[in-house]
Subunit: 137 residues, 2 copies
DNA sequence: GTAACTGCAAAATATTTGCATCCTT
DNA sequence: AAGGATGCAAATATTTTGCAGTTAC
């Protein structure tokens, strides 16, 4: 059984063309995708609304996670490790290339712990590094 | 001369009611503000478009910076240290309280360096920690 | 007086919702 | 067959742009 089917089955989602196609895009892409990217590559096949709803479902199920950005776009990427429904373990660093604008999940770079001031309790950390990526160096 | 005027003068911006009011909001707020927050607190005085343009100007001048979030909102906060036009030094950690939803700049907690894979050159780092804040503990 | 800032109107974009129809299981 | 997923239309929300009038310096 291929990866796409496995993921959908595991999360008890029905297997539909739209979900398969969008999952394939994520698997094919090294990095993260914006809603617009996905829409562009599926517009002949699916409605924009379907893309919205599919992404929302995937986030809820813990299949993809959202990546923080400073502009007002939202980026999504596959959860590679340990994500369960309602409880993301998205503790790797994201890298945004200021040259090619691609966002890359550095799965092997974990977000370091920081010491917070007295009284603050951390639950989750996210880190985004901007710079020049491997391909643009 | 008060702080608001100082900031505007230093960045050679003309002193207008809108800019003064918005800057005051930032200074009064411990944390970060969303466009919607600002609009809510100024809607009797200023047009929504003015808020957009003022925030944009402030970001360009390095007076405020944008904070990455995972939902698709954009948050802004005053740059306390060393920000110059076109070159933000926004290297402190941001804390988002999952209880009260406030975003707080932890100015004294600097973003740690991470070791990136071969070939990646970092230029800037941002870090967002989610958890329970001082007031909600 | 001049350049810059603002408000208003409107365009362009992005997101959400309702409902009828179709597909997966 | 039944529940869930999709497409379409339309309602909302968000952001941008143009231009005329006003304000700061």
């Amino acid at each position: 059984m291929n990866e796409v089917l496995q993921i959908l089955k595991k999360n008890s989602l029905s297997v539909t063309e739209g979900r398969k196609k969008i999952l394939e895009l994520f698997i094919a892409s090294e990095g993260a995708l914006a809603h617009a990217d996905i829409e562009k590559q599926t517009s002949n096949n699916f409605d924009r609304v379907t893309v919205y709803r599919t992404l929302q479902t995937f986030v809820e199920k813990g299949i993809i996670h959202q990546i923080p950005t400073t502009d007002n776009s939202v980026l999504y990427a596959l959860c590679r490790h340990n994500c369960e429904q309602g409880h993301h373990h998205d503790n790797h660093v994201h890298f945004i290339c200021s040259n090619c604008d691609k966002t890359i999940c550095l799965d092997d770079v974990t977000v370091p712990q920081v010491k917070l001031p007295e009284g603050f309790t951390p639950l989750q950390s996210a880190m985004v590094v901007t710079g020049i990526c491997l391909d643009c160096a």
